[in-house]
């Protein structure tokens, strides 16, 4: 797939020095407490000015070259990641009343730390197709969202069998709609049992029928989110064919 023009993030070194080819060395601070020291606090304003002209180059360069500027850039980036993580846990936390303030802030801090690790490890992946800050905040938001979902589902049973298919029917508002939903669920249940593998059944029932977050299912099945979605995708394709054969008007897969 062709997406965007590849941009070489290792652009010209503004100091004229050759770019470092050494592996990125993470700060030695214990527990990844990205504390802003007195020295780096003063340096943040110089290191990260928010200049809209070339901020991405500036971030990448400073984060990939050892020295005081790198420490300052890391501290400033961590503050930004923490802001993004708090934004996300507050958004998601409202949906899960069992999560409390201290839990949410702890999840935000963990998310910012994990996002920082991922960003420093994947700096070379930044292609310059967006602002660096948007690219970086993506890591914190995704980390925080996944952590909130996992935390909210901790200890809860996940329905993985085709027998647990009543939720949609119960939500149908009118008698006619209720009857239609019941008939539909019967058809889906039959096709799930007949055409899906055990793993496809488990994933489909949990994710598609019971709205269990996909990363929660991935954790329970000891696999990745991408692998779970691939399983779901394959299951849906089989069901699409089977339900279409019943005359339910499901379109085939489009190229």
């Amino acid at each position: 797939m062709t997406l965007a023009t590849d941009v070489d993030v290792w652009r010209e070194d503004p100091t004229g020095a050759a770019a470092s080819t050494e592996p990125l060395a993470l700060p030695a601070s214990a527990g990844f407490a990205w504390g802003v020291t007195r020295r780096s606090s003063r340096a943040i304003g110089d290191a990260v000015t928010g200049d809209p002209g070339a901020p991405s180059d500036d971030w990448v360069y400073r984060l990939s070259h050892a020295g005081p500027d790198r420490d300052a850039a890391i501290a400033a980036l961590h503050a930004l990641l923490l802001r993004a993580a708090r934004f996300e846990v507050n958004r998601r936390g409202a949906v899960f009343p069992n999560l409390h303030g201290a839990d949410l802030d702890d999840l935000a801090c963990q998310s910012a730390d994990d996002a920082m690790m991922s960003i420093l490890r994947r700096l070379a992946d930044f292609r310059g197709e967006s602002r660096f800050t948007t690219w970086a905040c993506k890591f914190a938001l995704v980390e925080a969202g996944a952590k909130v979902r996992r935390h909210a589902w901790r200890g809860r049973e996940i329905p993985l069998t085709a027998e647990s298919l009543s939720a949609d029917a119960d939500n149908a508002p009118l008698p006619d709609a209720h009857a239609e939903a019941q008939m539909l669920l019967i058809a889906v249940r039959e096709e799930v049992k007949q055409h899906l593998t055990a793993r496809q059944r488990a994933v489909f029932v949990a994710v598609a029928l019971n709205d269990v977050p996909i990363d929660v299912v991935a954790d329970r099945l000891n696999t990745t989110r991408g692998a779970v979605y691939k399983t779901l995708h394959d299951a849906r394709r089989k069901l699409r064919v089977a339900l279409n054969a019943r005359g339910l008007g499901i379109e085939g897969e489009r190229a």
């Binding site: 797939m1 997406l3 965007a4 943040i44 990260v48 928010g50 400033a76 980036l77 503050a79 930004l80 802001r83 993004a84 934004f87 996300e88 998601r92 992946d125 197709e129 967006s130 602002r131 800050t133 948007t134 690219w135 905040c137 993506k138 938001l141 995704v142 969202g145 996944a146 949609d168 709609a177 239609e180 939903a181 008939m183 539909l184 058809a187 889906v188 994710v207 598609a208 709205d211 977050p213 996909i214 989110r225 991408g226 979605y229 691939k230 995708h233 849906r236 069901l239 699409r240 339900l243 019943r246 005359g247 339910l248 008007g249 499901i250 379109e251 085939g252 897969e253 489009r254 190229a255």
Partner: protein
């Protein structure tokens, strides 16, 4: 045979997911930041023209859709600027 109604079609579409070709979750994550910025700026090519299989994946994957909505909201809030 079950009678097909608009309500039922919507329910089925949600269960069986999008019919279009779609990205994987990993590809979605890789392209999400550029996609969101194109959505916000509205510059050509459009986000969907530049990443054609993204929309179908966002329709089918609720977790990636959540991530997309969060990044879009965060960018629109203006809080991605450091400081």
């Amino acid at each position: 045979m079950i009678q097909d109604t608009p309500d039922q079609s919507g329910r089925l579409e949600r269960l069986v997911g999008p019919a279009d070709q779609e990205l994987s979750c990993e590809e979605c994550f890789d392209f999400l930041d550029a996609y969101v910025e194109l959505e916000v700026t509205g510059t050509a090519p459009s986000a969907d023209a530049r990443t054609p299989k993204m929309r179908a994946h966002l329709e089918g994957c609720s977790a990636c859709r959540d991530d997309h909505d969060s990044l879009l909201a965060f960018v629109l809030s203006g809080r991605t600027d450091p400081g």
